[in-house]
Each structure stands twice: as structure tokens, then as C-alpha cells.
């Protein structure tokens, strides 16, 4: 059993998300340690992207803060490697296709080899190799649907990183297709739109998860819009795990480098609510 699946064995999983380098990598490191101690079962580490099209304003701004602070994919690999010495829970990178696909690839479109497939695989392979060396267990790419996963899946397999699939309220009959090939856990997007805190989640999550269950025994974790312990409790009743991003990123935005105790307390509360 993979490390990610094992994380769902001990009950409902709490999966916090933070953007690496927001406000700086030192704080990110402290946050990861604190969240792991506070009960997080898996940690989603966002690699910032200049144009995060699936994010709402809160995480967009976190991406911007991190990038303007000078964080790069290589610095994040280094940080994860250091964290691995003291944290054992699974890490999942969450970023956008181009950050992986174009990693370390400096060939210009005008050059002869740029048009070939090898140029493409170079970036993805190099990224996944370094991610695996750093101790990352999974990868989430919100702009890569089932139909396009072949750009990434073979290299993920080669380096033992699970490519996490997503299903959304609009997926309907696609849920079975996606769930059958899903690895690690299935990220169930709770609502239409982008990431961000929502006062109410109107999608029939129960129905969505039951479609997943019919197709596969993959753990289902719900994300997008969840911020309160009450919401988390409700979602955890219907699924195997709960993912929270914007609510935590908001605390980081509010308190900056002093955010650690606030986030620790929040993660404790959320973990308790779903246990």
C-alpha cells in the first residue's frame, strides 16, 4: 500500500494546503513541522505559479507573495529534502502543468530540437526525479484532466510519485472513468468555481462519493470551500478526508511570519472535528 493510502487507514484524514514560500521558505518549514505535529495526515505543498487559473483571490495572492519573495522550484525541492529528515507523513505537491512540464528546460522555440517530444519529457522527468529524491509522494495538477494525464503519468510511475486525480460537481459520468485509474486518493472538488472559502457547499457530496465508491476503493477527500470545523465534520461524514487551503492561507496572510501558533491551533481544531 502506498504511503498516501496508508494515511487514510487510521480514520478520516485531514489534509492542509499551504503555498511554499508564503511569506518565506523558513516560515513554510516551520508550518509543515507544526501542522504535522498538530495532526495533519498528508500535507499539500503548493509550488507557486505566475498564473494559477484554478485559484481564488486568497491563494492567487499567496502565489504572488511567494514568487515576489524569490522562491523557485529548486529552493522548494531543497526545503522538502530538509523537512524529510524530521517529518514522515506524505507530502503532495500541488502546482500547475507548466511548472512541471517546463522545469529546467531552457531550449527556445527557434532551436531545432524544441519541437520534438523529447524537449517536453525532459522537463517533466527532471521535475519528478528531483521531487522523488526530495521525498515527495504525490502530485496534483488542477489543469491536467484525465484526457491529458499521459504527459505526466509515465514519469510519475517511473519515480514512484502518485498522480492525484480530481473530480468535480460537473463530472457526472466521468467520475467512474476517472476513479478507476485514480492513484493515492481522489480529490473531490466540492463546488463550482475556484478555490476559496464558501459559507455553504450546495453540491450533493454524498451522491458524488457514492459514484466514486461504485467504481473504486480509492479514498475520497473533499476540497474547495471548507473552512469551519462544522463544515469539515459534515464533509468527513460523507468521505475519507478533508482538504483545506484558503482558510489556512488566509491565516498566513493575516499573521505573516507569526502565523505558526494560529495555524497550529486551527489544524488541531479541524482534526478534532473530523475524528
Amino acid at each position: 500500500m502506498s504511503k498516501i493510502r496508508e494515511a487514510f487507514e487510521g480514520g478520516k484524514a485531514f489534509i492542509p494546503f499551504i503555498t511554499c514560500g508564503d511569506p518565506d521558505l523558513e516560515t513554510t518549514k516551520k508550518l509543515v513541522l507544526a501542522m504535522a505535529q498538530a495532526g495533519a495526515d498528508i500535507i499539500e505543498l503548493g509550488i507557486p505559479f505566475s498564473d494559477p487559473t484554478a485559484e481564488g483571490p486568497v491563494i492567487q495572492e499567496a502565489n504572488l507573495r511567494a514568487l515576489s519573495g524569490g522562491v523557485t522550484t529548486d529552493k522548494i525541492f531543497e526545503m522538502v529534502k530538509e523537512l524529510r529528515e524530521s517529518v514522515s507523513i506524505p507530502f503532495v505537491f500541488m502546482t500547475y502543468a507548466n511548472v512541471v512540464f517546463s522545469y529546467g528546460n531552457t531550449r527556445r522555440s527557434g532551436s531545432e530540437e524544441a519541437g520534438g517530444d523529447n524537449a517536453a519529457i525532459g522537463g517533466t522527468e527532471a521535475f519528478l526525479q528531483k521531487a522523488a529524491e526530495a521525498g515527495v509522494n504525490g502530485l496534483i495538477l488542477p489543469d491536467v484532466p484525465f484526457e491529458e494525464k499521459e504527459d505526466f503519468a509515465p514519469a510519475c510511475k517511473k519515480y514512484g510519485i502518485e498522480l492525484i486525480s480530481l473530480v468535480a460537481p460537473t463530472s457526472q459520468e466521468r467520475i467512474a472513468t476517472v476513479a478507476k485509474e485514480a492513484e493515492g486518493f481522489l480529490y473531490c472538488v466540492s463546488s463550482l468555481g475556484v478555490t476559496g472559502v464558501r459559507s455553504q457547499i450546495t453540491t450533493d457530496i454524498g451522491a458524488m462519493v457514492s459514484l466514486v465508491r461504485q467504481a473504486s476503493d480509492i479514498p475520497a477527500a473533499i476540497g474547495f470551500g471548507i473552512s469551519t470545523p462544522q463544515q469539515a465534520k459534515e464533509m468527513a461524514r460523507k468521505a475519507d478526508g478533508v482538504i483545506v487551503g484558503s482558510a489556512i492561507v488566509k491565516l498566513i496572510a493575516q499573521h505573516g511570519r507569526d502565523c505558526i501558533p494560529y495555524v497550529t491551533e486551527y489544524v488541531k481544531q479541524m482534526k478534532e472535528a473530523i475524528s
Binding site: 505559479f49 505566475s50 498564473d51 487559473t53 484554478a54 481564488g56 492567487q60 504572488l64 514568487l67 523557485t72 522550484t73 529548486d74 502543468a97 507548466n98 511548472v99 512541471v100 512540464f101 517546463s102 522545469y103 529546467g104 528546460n105 531552457t106 531550449r107 527556445r108 522555440s109 527557434g110 524544441a114 519541437g115 520534438g116 517530444d117 524537449a119 517536453a120 522537463g123 488542477p142 489543469d143 491536467v144 484532466p145 484525465f146 484526457e147 491529458e148 499521459e150 504527459d151 480530481l166 473530480v167 468535480a168 460537481p169 460537473t170 463530472s171 457526472q172 466521468r174 476517472v178 472538488v189 463550482l192 468555481g193 475556484v194
Partner: protein, 394 residues
């Protein structure tokens, strides 16, 4: 599995939330593109409302002045709303209506696509919201007013560089938020499948007409066709029916901004690399970590860090050639065409005119060049005046 490929480019790199929407769109497009009723309605609109076919005008003074190839201008600037964008906007809004949608959203750079979409929405009784980079709402204030006048709601986008790429991102976000009654009228041959194919088909009327008009006037095909390229919709429209005619050279003119050796450029093929962004695999201006570059051009319509996937393929195969034109060259060409032919081109189209000025004198007098004048330049007058150090009020 993966659909909508042009060589290695294209595809559907979008959030799962949008997958059923693009699949539904593809199905509807495949159905209506061969539907006689839909095509009759669209042709009627293009002829009677837009004023097609647009003229292929012999630019005699420019021809004599440059002393080389015989130059024709394809007058897309004479279309209703002043640019080629209306060809695609009317077709997509008509399609959206057939699909039962009641609301359309669109991104816009220079504002021409926003105006075209707002126009089509007004005509067909659809709700319309346009996302435009805040920087562009300043550069193109007149077009913002035109959209409002046409009943559209304009949302200034403040994220990122507050230009076209950010407007596209924000419109995509809005689409994931509201899908069931809303169609995203993408303005260029980019984004996820089926947009690049569908929009190319809607713009291909340009090359279909050029071909017929050139055969009628000259009894043969042109030797080269020039068009400006941002995402590339007017260029693919002007190229498409000539791709099979190997004798016709196809030249796309990218915006070099302050030069391709500076960071203030939007010339994707000259400075970009293969990547995945905004739903497609293609070439993009980006750094070594895949972060999309904050591009720059004086032209809000060419100020985009990527290029449509079909152009990327034509670039790979060498069937089309792409050149970079600086702000300064484009502004000179803008002024040149106004003085020489009494035609004020859009600053976007002026990029093609600028390269034509270099190329035509190197060609023989019995050779024929066609320049696609994709839009008119009224919208640019205030910005060009400012570029020349003259502050005028719009």
C-alpha cells in the same frame, strides 16, 4: 484520449470542472458546423450585418512607393465594429444561443473582441460580461465605453500584469463558476480544444475570400500573405485556405515590443519555449521554472505570452514563417499607411504593414503580396499620440 492536436500542440489542459462544458461545446460545434440552417443564418449575418465579403484593395500608392511587389490590403477593418473579431464573435454567440445558453463571457485585450462579443450579444439578446486587464482599460478607454454602451458589463482585471493573459485567466475562472447558462466566447485561436479549431473555421472566411478575390483580380494566387499574430486568429484566418498552396508564403508578424533582446517583448516564437498554459500545449514566453513571463507590446491585442497551437505547428513544419516587429516599426507603419493610403490601421495590423514595408521592395514587380488589415486604428490614436509625446483627450 487527447483531442484537438496540431502536431504536438493543442489539447485540453483545463480543470476537470470544465471538461463536460468543452465536450458539450465540441458536440454542438460538430453538429452545427454542417447544419445548413446554422450556416445560412451565419452567412446572412456576415453579409448583411458585418458587410462581408470585405474588400481586397489594391494599394497602388504603397506599391509604387515601395517599388516592389504589388500590394493588396484585405480590409477586415471595414467590418462592422472595425475588426475581424466580429466574424468569430457572431458565430460563437449564435452557436451559444442554439445551445440554449443565455449568457456569454469574454476576455479582451485591445477591446476589439470585447466590443465584437458585446455587439453580437446585443443583437441576439444575450447577457454579456467582458473581462479586461485594468492596464488595457486605460490604454483602450474608448472600447470600454463602447462595450458598456452595447449593454455589456466590463470587469477590470487587476491580477498579474493586468493585461490580456490575466483577462483570459479571469474569464476561465468565471466560467468554472457558472457553466450551465454561460458560454465562454474565446477571442483567439487558443485555449482548449475545440476553441482553436472552431475559431479558425470561423475566421477562415478571410482566406477563402482573399483566394477568390485574388483569382478574380489577378488570375492567380498571391505570392505571400502577411498578418499580425498575438494568439493568432486573424493570421490563421488569412492563412488557412492557402496552407495547401505551397507557392504562397505565409508570414506572421509578432510583437517584439521594445525588441526581442529585451524583457519588454511579446514575440512568443522568437523568445518562447514549449509549454502548457491556458488550456493548450504551445509556445510561451516563460522563465526556466515555467513561470509565464510578463510580456509587453504597445499593442494591447498582441500583448500575450503565447500563440495558438496551429501556428506553433506551422512554425515547427516551416509552412509559415514568423517575424518580430518592434513598437517603433509598428508605429511608423501606422503613420505610413495613414499618410500613403488614407487608411489608419489598428496598431496590431500595423505590425504586418511594418514587415511588408521591409519585404515588398525585395520582391519583383510581378509578385503579389496580401496584407491582412485586421482592424481599424481609431482606437489607437490617443495611445500613438502619447507614444509620440503628444497628450490628447479621447
Amino acid at each position: 484520449m487527447s483531442k484537438g492536436r496540431f502536431g504536438i500542440h493543442g489539447g485540453q489542459y483545463i480543470p476537470e470542472t470544465l471538461m463536460n462544458a468543452v465536450n458539450e461545446l465540441e458536440e454542438a460545434y460538430n453538429h452545427y458546423k454542417d447544419d445548413p440552417q446554422f450556416n445560412a443564418e451565419l452567412t446572412e449575418l456576415l453579409n448583411e450585418y458585418v458587410g462581408r465579403p470585405s474588400r481586397l484593395y489594391f494599394a497602388e500608392k504603397m506599391t509604387n512607393d515601395l517599388g516592389g511587389a504589388k500590394i493588396y490590403l484585405k480590409r477586415e477593418d471595414l467590418n462592422h465594429t472595425g475588426a475581424h473579431k466580429i466574424n468569430n464573435a457572431l458565430a460563437q454567440v449564435l452557436l451559444a444561443k442554439k445551445m440554449g445558453k443565455t449568457r456569454v463571457i469574454a476576455e479582451t485585450g485591445a477591446g476589439q473582441h470585447g466590443v465584437a462579443t458585446a455587439t453580437a450579444a446585443a443583437l441576439m439578446g444575450m447577457e454579456c460580461e467582458v473581462y479586461m486587464g485594468e492596464e488595457d482599460t486605460k490604454r483602450q478607454a474608448l472600447n470600454v465605453y463602447r462595450m458598456r454602451l452595447l449593454g455589456a458589463k466590463v470587469h477590470p482585471v487587476t491580477t498579474g500584469t493586468a493585461t490580456l493573459k490575466d483577462a483570459v485567466s479571469e474569464t476561465m475562472r468565471e466560467w468554472t463558476n457558472r457553466i450551465s447558462d454561460t458560454h465562454y466566447v474565446l477571442g483567439s485561436v487558443m485555449g482548449p480544444h475545440p476553441f482553436p479549431t472552431m475559431i479558425r473555421d470561423f475566421q477562415a472566411v478571410i482566406s477563402k475570400e482573399i483566394k477568390a478575390q485574388c483569382l478574380e483580380k489577378e488570375g492567380r494566387l498571391p505570392d505571400c500573405v502577411l498578418a499580425c499574430v498575438g494568439g493568432g486568429s486573424n493570421a490563421i484566418g488569412a492563412f488557412y485556405h492557402f496552407i495547401e498552396d505551397e507557392s504562397v508564403e505565409l508570414i506572421g508578424c509578432e510583437a517584439a515590443g521594445r525588441g526581442i533582446d529585451t524583457f519588454e517583448t511579446a514575440a512568443t516564437l522568437a523568445t518562447g519555449r514549449l509549454g502548457i498554459f491556458h488550456g493548450m500545449k504551445s509556445y510561451f514566453c516563460q522563465d526556466e521554472y515555467g513561470q509565464i513571463a510578463p510580456v509587453y507590446s504597445i499593442s494591447a491585442g498582441l500583448d500575450y505570452p503565447g500563440i495558438g497551437p496551429e501556428h506553433a505547428m506551422l512554425h515547427d513544419s516551416g509552412r509559415a514563417k514568423y517575424v518580430a516587429v518592434t513598437d517603433e516599426e509598428a508605429v511608423e507603419a501606422f503613420e505610413y499607411l495613414a499618410r500613403t493610403e488614407g487608411i489608419i490601421p489598428a496598431i496590431e495590423s500595423a505590425h504586418a504593414v511594418a514587415y511588408a514595408k521591409k519585404l515588398a521592395p525585395q520582391m519583383r514587380k510581378d509578385q503579389i503580396m496580401v496584407i491582412n488589415i485586421s482592424g481599424r486604428g481609431d482606437k489607437d490614436c490617443a495611445a500613438i499620440a502619447r507614444y509620440r509625446g503628444e497628450d490628447i483627450y479621447e
